[in-house]
């Protein structure tokens, strides 16, 4: 059986990303291991699942990453999607904290979604499954 243990987003600056993903999104650091140079193996988890999937905040140093991220952001494509219980509450809380949303909560049938800018070069989607 193969399990998903780590997934990643490329972040422009790992320190800034750590602040955004912990202080604003509410995740907790799981691993923070120095690699070569200034790069770190930096992962966070949701307090709702401390032993669940880790999100790797991956350095953007490779020259292909910049154009890749820019193209995704231009067309509004999220780099990752996270689940929430109450999207409107998260939207209100994060907006009050200064987070920029490019899409407010929008009803898409089985889900309500919103899209925010993580300030590290990515769009992140928040999704709430609606009871069918």
């Amino acid at each position: 059986m193969i399990r998903i243990t780590v997934t990643s987003v490329f972040v422009d600056d790992q320190s800034a990303a750590l602040d955004f993903y912990t202080r604003l999104l509410g995740f907790e650091v799981k691993n923070d291991i120095p690699l070569g140079g200034d790069d770190r193996w930096l992962t966070v988890v949701s307090p709702a699942a401390p032993d669940g999937v880790e999100l790797l905040l991956e350095p953007s140093g490779h020259p292909a990453v910049g154009p890749y991220k820019a193209a995704l952001v231009e067309d509004g494509i999220p780099a990752a999607s996270f689940g929430v219980d109450d999207l409107q509450a998260e939207f209100d809380r994060l907006t009050a904290a200064g987070v920029r949303f490019v899409q407010p909560p929008t009803d898409m049938g089985p889900v309500v979604v919103a899209t925010l800018d993580d300030t590290c070069g990515n769009l992140i989607q928040l999704a709430q499954t609606t009871s069918a």
Partner: protein, 119 residues
């Protein structure tokens, strides 16, 4: 490209001409003659200023239109040519906006009587 009543003497770009003169362009009819493009206009009417991704998601989830991103992008180009959609770049984002201005030309050409006035 054929435009009805095209005034050749005006050194204006197509979009400017479409948006700011009272003449009807054939492009507008072509743009409206497609169900997906009409659905795009519906969704921009619902919320103006959307990314390509949001429009694609809405077309899939709300209209059951499984158009590819490339196809939606081409539809948007047709709507842009007709002046019905404008693209706004804001930093790294790209948003699409609805402009119903070109539709005014249709009602000007074939005025709609007030209700109760119909023969």
């Amino acid at each position: 490209m054929t435009r009805e009543g095209s005034p050749n003497r005006q050194p204006l770009t197509g979009k400017y001409w479409l948006a700011y003169t009272g003449r009807v362009a054939a492009d507008v009819y072509k743009a409206l003659a497609d169900a997906t493009r009409r659905a795009i206009l519906d969704e921009l009417q619902d919320r103006d200023g959307q990314s390509l991704f949001e429009l694609c998601t809405r077309l899939t989830m709300r209209h059951g239109l499984g158009s590819t991103r490339q196809a939606v992008s081409q539809h948007l180009e047709v709507l842009e040519e007709a002046g019905l959609v404008t693209v706004r770049r804001e930093g790294r984002y790209k948003f699409h906006h609805l402009d119903t201005g070109p539709l005014r030309q249709i009602a000007t050409r074939w005025p709609v009587p007030d209700e109760g006035e119909s023969p």
